[in-house]
Symmetry: D2
Subunit: 287 residues, 4 copies
């Protein structure tokens, strides 16, 4: 998907009912939209309908800005949860980091070569260590040291900054702090974390050490939306790498870094391209 | 997709034009069809449109047998290549084998546990060796020994048998004969082969030996539709396995057997579930 | 490794100390053994030494049967745990199954084409369902129905049968009963199980259902030695397969069958070729 | 393998003969070396012996600098090709690049966090574009523009620079020039290239375009030593990624970048840790 085609994307979920695809496609056809990509899924167990449609907006017969308004009556009739996003309206992202550089480095580099069709607006950290890396990419870097005492206060400041910067997506690129419920509630299914294990195995701290002690033959990384329960939110993407008895903890950490970088980058791309719908503890990823 | 839901599947490709999804979905909606699964792809480079739609036929308001006829005018208008297949109208398959048992064994076993929603009607071989395996599964086994002299004649008999048995799909489960143009023309994009390399590398004979001599670090298997040019038809599925210097030719063959079995089985399933559209030398696989 | 080379394999672990490789290699050299394969690992964290050596025995200058006796003084000096197995002395294996056929089918087929350099002597089941499959391969099939009441008694009979048949390795090919401590103690690190999850995730019952409910993007299979604690023994081999929201429970089970077959077969081969050393909850697999 | 353990590594190949492991291990034992890692391979088809041994040098009873000299008589007797490298004697590496940044960026970043136990001494390019990236890591950057007319002359200057800087390994991190025979002969099996295909498929130019046109379902990357014949040298490492009809050329290039980075980094690490032995067109990689 490139920035030079003006397009719009609908993400929608509702109870399944007859004629949904027909009526959505007809809605677009009537208004001069040409469908570029349509992916649809019916969960027949639960009777649920999920769809992602992207269409070319060049020959729209209504003002592009009024698309969402025009679609609202239909969506209401369906009882749907939905968003329409224009390709011009790029997501605005904040990256949260601590001391590890590999995920930040990866996301900033990919951003610099145009892999993400989004604006990364700023980097937040509880430590000053990675300032050089943010600045190398011309990215504002904000330090909010966190202690048990000041956590609520600092998170309040962070939220104010995010609001001021119109951030819609937060990426925890190995941010070593647990966010409070209040923070999470401000960004439901819009905070993306990378956990360095094949969840639900080895949740919590030191997953590589846990993996070595258990003697698994593969390690994993999991990117998920953050919810109140630690390492328990809807999974967006996972991957694994093979290890052997020859790999000491340091080797496992090295192999894991590569996993973390790639898995987080894929999850972020899926999210920024509006490919992810959340349903309870699960995601539908239209990749 | 299971056999207890009566459904129908449309596979269609044509030049891209506005309103295609809308009109196809509307056609089904008007006739009481409920879409279960829709996957659509536009090749914007070539301006081509591909779609696969499966819908529930329980509440159809027209006779199910007349679906294709009813759809014909629309398809003509689109200038489309298309098929509609009812879930009751199971594909009829012939397996072609020589002496290796692993692919035949795999396909017959999967068939026996219901993985393929199709009828495997018979096994053809140029050698008698695998008769026991076909008969173990209650499958008719026909031997047509092939020599340079009798090839045309034997293929003629094979085609007559396939026609008599209303076979629509031929699976070459390590059949060690090159089919003639005449045979291939009788089943365009309906003869599935498994080649034991990561095509286009190591086409032709002895690919594992070639792989060992080249010193590759991975071997592959490729399932493709058969065309006149050897090992050159549209690829349906591929996979690879890691090898090392410790693997002698016998080890490579052993690892390769597992690849061949799995890749062929996946390709056959995609084909039998009408998930494959061919466009020139390529396939679109709606998996 | 093929059956036509007479060879012997030493598996040994002990506290690390200087000169171990030199003295073991010298022991073989002095007695006319030619090393074909040597793999050695030092766990520098714990100060432990692990080695697997295979040597050609054709030009041995001592009777092959006396190799173990000749090595005993050295092993005692090292304080080692060790085995020497001659390639003639094939492992004797019992397969335990219940109602699922895929793992049994896979192991018997691989055995039939010579993939395992071992004798599979018999099949034990708590149900009569798979008798046809064992008999198809000319394999004795013994049914021991298990109830809460008769479990101890039936396991006693099973153990007597295994002893009578000189079985040294038990493969649980989807055997749906938990073995008692007494049974496990009779075969320490010689009972191989296949669990249909990426352990330690989803231990216990219905792992595929658990995986679907958690919304993971990959499923796994794990083959491990059986210990007293369920699904907790030393892991020999694992692998994974990708799933998506399109995969319903039945699809996950289908993909999982392929994983289970391959992972169990690999673990069994590693064990039968004396490639596995156990250290606490972990294995060293010299593959 | 870390820099704080002083150790030495022997890489050796010769015709197989009895007693090789014993005599090598004994040589080390006698001189107070404690073996940390030993990997050995016999190619029984060709009667060849390959070994890699790493040992702790803290309690050596001879001067560490005289190890190679002391080993020479034994090596001569074996008729071996061999090297002994002390962990202090780090490889010295030159990176060659053109305009693509991803491989350079990856190697420099990994170097910066200590993944390579080596000195990257300088970057050579035929274009000035990536100067900023080299300088960001404090790395000298030398531009040698290449034309058909000046190629021999410029390569001569490059070789002089490499010699002056005592470079032993050249890494072509997407260097878009074919090196001449003279240059290659100066670094036999010490120039590492990354080719963006699963060799031998799609050698030559535009492999991703070739892959798209052929309709493969997976793309690959191959890292190999450079020989006179383009894309034909001994393969060190390969890997693949899945693609589908949804991936346009740009997507394939994006997925390929990740492959190239990881495969090249792995190959470089294997080489710098003295894990690679070359035999004809193949490598033995003791990983």
């Amino acid at each position: 998907m490139s920035g030079n085609v003006r397009s719009a994307t609908l993400l929608l979920s509702c109870t399944d009912q007859r004629g949904l695809v027909s009526r959505i496609a007809h809605f677009l056809f009537e208004r001069g939209g040409n469908i570029l990509d349509l992916d649809e899924h019916v969960d027949t167990d639960d009777g649920l309908f999920f769809i992602r449609v992207t269409w070319d907006t060049h020959q729209l017969t209504i003002p592009i800005a009024s698309l969402a308004e025009a679609f609202t009556p239909l969506a209401k009739e369906f009882g749907a949860q939905w968003t329409i996003r224009l390709s011009d309206a790029r997501h605005r992202v904040a990256l949260f980091v601590s001391k590890y550089d590999h995920c930040l480095q990866e996301i900033l580099w990919r951003h610099s070569i145009g892999e993400f069709d989004a604006d990364i607006a700023l980097v937040v950290s509880n430590h000053p260590d990675l300032r050089y890396l943010a600045e190398r990419h011309g990215m504002p870097f904000h330090v909010f040291p966190i202690t048990a005492q000041n956590k609520a206060e600092q998170e309040g400041k962070e939220l104010a900054l995010l609001k001021e910067q119109r951030i819609d997506t937060v990426v925890l690129a190995r941010y070593m702090q647990v966010l409070s419920k209040g923070f999470i509630d401000a960004y439901p299914n819009r905070i993306i974390n990378i956990h360095h294990s094949f969840l639900p195995a080895f949740s919590g701290s030191n997953p590589y050490k846990q993996a070595c002690e258990r003697g698994v033959k593969m390690i994993g990384a999991t990117s998920h939306y953050v919810t109140e329960v630690l390492d328990d939110g809807p999974i967006i993407e996972q991957d694994i790498a093979r290890i052997s008895h020859r790999d000491r903890l340091n080797d496992v950490i090295r192999k894991g870094r590569d996993l973390e970088r790639l898995v987080l980058a894929r999850a972020v791309r899926f999210h920024l391209e509006d490919r992810v719908l959340v349903r309870g503890r699960k995601t539908i990823v239209f990749d």
